[in-house]
């Protein structure tokens, strides 16, 4: 049964039952630190070998996890680092950074028919540009690398931080787009003159009458098109390897051992995107493990009794200040200064209360979201060490928030994905 009173599935159960958990959400919501905190919590509370794959961590966080300048290899975070941060590891925490360029180079070397072709591709002047821009290559390579790491079987749990994308769904489409791209008619069109004309370096002459080549030639010039075509003729040799791989990546995303967690703050734009993402995941038959509401103001800030107390300070500071001056506490001897401070204390609360109220309203609209897993409060400090990650981890794996309701029709999809 689902409904407002139904307890939501905690993140702890999710982490215990899944092999891959993908964190997604719009830029700036704290995806990287949430993913890292989740992995740390899993390694310290659940045990096993846990790997966190992150895309672009803040420098100090990378330093804290020993990720600085290590390239594409995964590294174990030393137990001493975890202990120094107040954590007692039950399992092992591993961390890896995603190096797009190195991952692409690996992929080309793996799928090229021979070393000469691989070298030709890697040396092409378009290659760098292509791998950094086309068909969401960043997204694709992230999923590809995840597949690679998962298939080693070395980890009990892999927690993945997704790259910042303009559209949070791009990375889900990346394998399909990659397959379409290499299997597509357009690639054949573009390279056709070179194929039929006797291989590389053939001229456009025979095709000059066709509108596509006419327009393309007028826009870009023959030489440029020829460069592109040559590149793709080489790239095409990797077609079957690439497409097979893209399909495998896609299957892993759909596998019941994989789950997605959406991270958002309680702000308009990120939240709209998060809701869209939740419904899209469900529509695609992917498992939505839950929603993390990050950097949320304390609920107590919306309490009317607290607001009334603040009003006493802002409206009547002089009277309170006089009473405080009478206590004999040396710092409170000057009633004028004390009144000023009391008013500031009250207004500081009122300002944060506005934010808390705004957040509460947005949260109330969240009824459409299938499941909520956890709320992480606003912490004053940046997340840059194991200790602060551990604090987030406690919020993530603690009791789920009963105030966030579960969508009424979530039952059917839910049963299929119940943790084993």
């Amino acid at each position: 049964m689902t409904g407002p009173g139904r307890p939501v599935v905690g993140l702890q159960a999710l982490l215990a039952s899944r092999e891959v958990v993908v964190f997604c959400g719009s830029g700036g919501v704290g995806k990287t630190s949430t993913a890292a905190a989740t992995a740390l919590a899993a390694a310290t509370q659940l045990g096993g070998r846990v790997l966190v794959v992150t895309v672009d961590p803040a420098r100090r966080l990378a330093d804290a996890l020993g990720l600085d300048g290590i390239g594409n290899e995964e590294r174990r975070v030393p137990d001493a680092v975890l202990r120094a941060g107040g954590c007692t590891p039950r399992g092992e925490l591993w961390a890896a950074m995603l190096d797009t360029k190195a991952s692409w180079d690996d992929l080309v070397r793996r799928h090229a028919p021979d070393e000469a072709t691989a070298a030709q591709i890697l040396d092409n002047r378009l290659y760098d540009n292509l791998t950094s821009r086309f068909v969401q290559s960043h997204d694709y390579i992230a999923m590809e690398r995840l597949y690679d790491l998962h298939s080693t079987g070395a980890y009990d749990l892999i927690v993945v931080d997704t790259p910042p994308t303009r559209n949070a769904l791009d990375f889900l489409d990346a394998p399909q787009r990659m397959a379409d791209f290499f299997g597509g008619r357009l690639l054949r069109w573009l390279t056709a003159p070179y194929r039929l004309g006797g291989g590389r370096g053939a001229r456009f002459v025979n095709f000059a009458s066709k509108p596509f080549y006419q327009i393309a030639d007028r826009l870009l010039g023959t030489q440029f098109l020829q460069d592109i075509a040559e590149f793709f003729l080489n790239f095409e040799t990797m077609y079957s390897g690439f497409v097979g791989r893209a399909r495998a990546v896609e299957r892993l995303m759909q596998d019941r051992r994989t789950s997605f967690v959406v991270v958002t703050t309680l702000e308009g734009a990120p939240l709209r995107e998060a809701e869209f993402f939740c419904s899209e995941l469900t529509a695609r038959g992917l498992h939505l493990g839950g929603l993390v509401l990050n950097r949320v103001m304390p609920e107590a800030f919306t309490d009317p009794a607290v607001a009334a107390a603040a009003r006493v300070l802002t409206d009547d500071p002089t009277e309170v200040a006089t009473a405080l001056a009478a206590t004999g506490v040396p710092a409170l001897a000057d009633p004028v200064a004390v009144a000023r401070v009391l008013r500031t204390v009250g207004t500081s609360f009122q300002q944060l209360a506005v934010v808390a109220t705004r957040e509460a309203e947005l949260r109330a609209e969240l009824a459409r979201v299938p499941e909520a897993v956890a709320t992480v409060p606003t912490f004053a400090e940046d997340v840059h060490d194991v200790r602060s990650l551990a604090r987030i981890g406690e919020c993530l794996l603690g009791a789920p928030l009963p105030s966030v309701r579960v969508r009424a029709d979530a039952g059917a999809g839910e049963a299929e994905h119940r943790p084993r």
Binding site: R218, G221, D382
Partner: protein
């Protein structure tokens, strides 16, 4: 810095989540309040820039969303369509679909092609305005995020280096002239006093200098929190939290006053945690910094945009 709005073309970039679109919209509102006719260009975005004006989404044709502010959404396909119509006189009726598809393929594969259509359209509007054929005093671009904006701005040069002949190459020259003229153009960066946005801003400013000829304008520091207490007030605030003082506060305002004190302490701590990032930004960037305070308001609509515009106006001395 009063001359920032006297340029003809402002690009606004920033890391995701720092409020780039809000600041862009506020700059447009501010310029319009100064009597300028502003074209606000949303580049391949989610189409929510108009939300900041409480106006429904718009398309490729500019629509007035506030007095003096016109918004258009720039997509590669629409730019291509217009480009082909204007420059090649290719009959497009009923044909743009497949051609756009093919072009999209080439554009995906070829570096700079997509970007040049975006930047090209923007530069074209600026050139037409300077020559009196388009009505804009100022074109403001809600540009790509910090990670991609260099590729966008540098597209004319990329294309010039890659494409040896053809009309696109020929047009890169006047685009580069507009983009590199400090009287006309400025690249502005929106950031927030947090670690990642500050790092990205410092890196971007350095890259913009070495990898492009586009002049830099200002860095807008968004969501700056106020410092609640003066140095003299700090011991007073500290003394409120315990012993007999706290008892008196409970008598005066009830036990709920504890949460009020917590909130004030959080406000202080949040401000303090951001100070080193502000310092790093000041040390790492030698551009004018415009500070926009964190907005303690309920909604994120036109009212919030106007508040940001007012803050920017004060910073610019307007």
């Amino acid at each position: 810095m009063t001359d920032l709005l006297d340029r003809r073309l402002l690009f606004v970039t920033g890391k995701g989540g720092v409020g780039k679109s809000t600041v862009t919209a506020a700059l447009a509102l501010l310029a319009a309040e100064q009597g300028k006719r502003v074209l606000l260009v949303e580049v391949d975005a989610k189409g929510n820039l108009t939300n900041l004006f409480e106006h429904p989404p718009v398309g490729f044709d500019p629509v007035a969303v506030a007095p003096g502010v016109f918004v258009m959404q720039l997509t590669t396909e629409a730019s291509l369509r217009e480009y082909l119509k204007l420059n090649l006189r290719i009959p497009m009726v009923g044909r743009i679909g497949p051609i756009a598809g093919i072009f999209d393929f080439v554009a995906n594969a070829a570096p700079g092609v997509k970007e040049i259509l975006t930047v090209g359209k923007v530069c074209w509007e600026v050139r037409e305005s300077i020559e009196g054929r388009a009505p804009w005093d100022l074109v403001i671009v809600d540009a790509a995020a910090t990670g991609h904006v260099i590729a966008q701005l540098d597209a004319p040069r990329t294309i010039r280096d890659l494409v040896q002949t053809g009309p696109i190459r020929n047009q890169t020259e006047w685009m580069m002239t507009i983009l590199s003229d400090p009287v006309i153009t400025a690249l502005n960066v929106v950031t927030a006093p947090e670690e990642m946005p500050v790092n990205e801003t410092i890196e971007l400013v350095a890259r913009a200098r070495t990898e492009t000829d586009v002049p830099l304008g200002a860095v807008v520091v968004n969501r700056v929190l106020p410092e609640p207490f003066t140095v003299a007030d700090e011991p007073v605030f500290a003394a409120l939290g315990d012993g007999v003082a706290l008892d008196r506060l409970h008598q005066a305002a009830g036990p709920a006053v504890d949460t009020v004190l917590d909130a004030a302490a959080l406000a202080v701590a949040l401000r303090r945690a951001r100070v080193p990032h502000l310092d790093a930004l000041r040390a790492g960037v030698d551009l004018p910094l415009l500070y926009v305070p964190y907005l303690f308001v309920r909604d994120h609509g036109l009212r919030a945009t106007r508040m940001v515009a007012d803050a920017l106006g004060a910073e610019l001395g307007l």
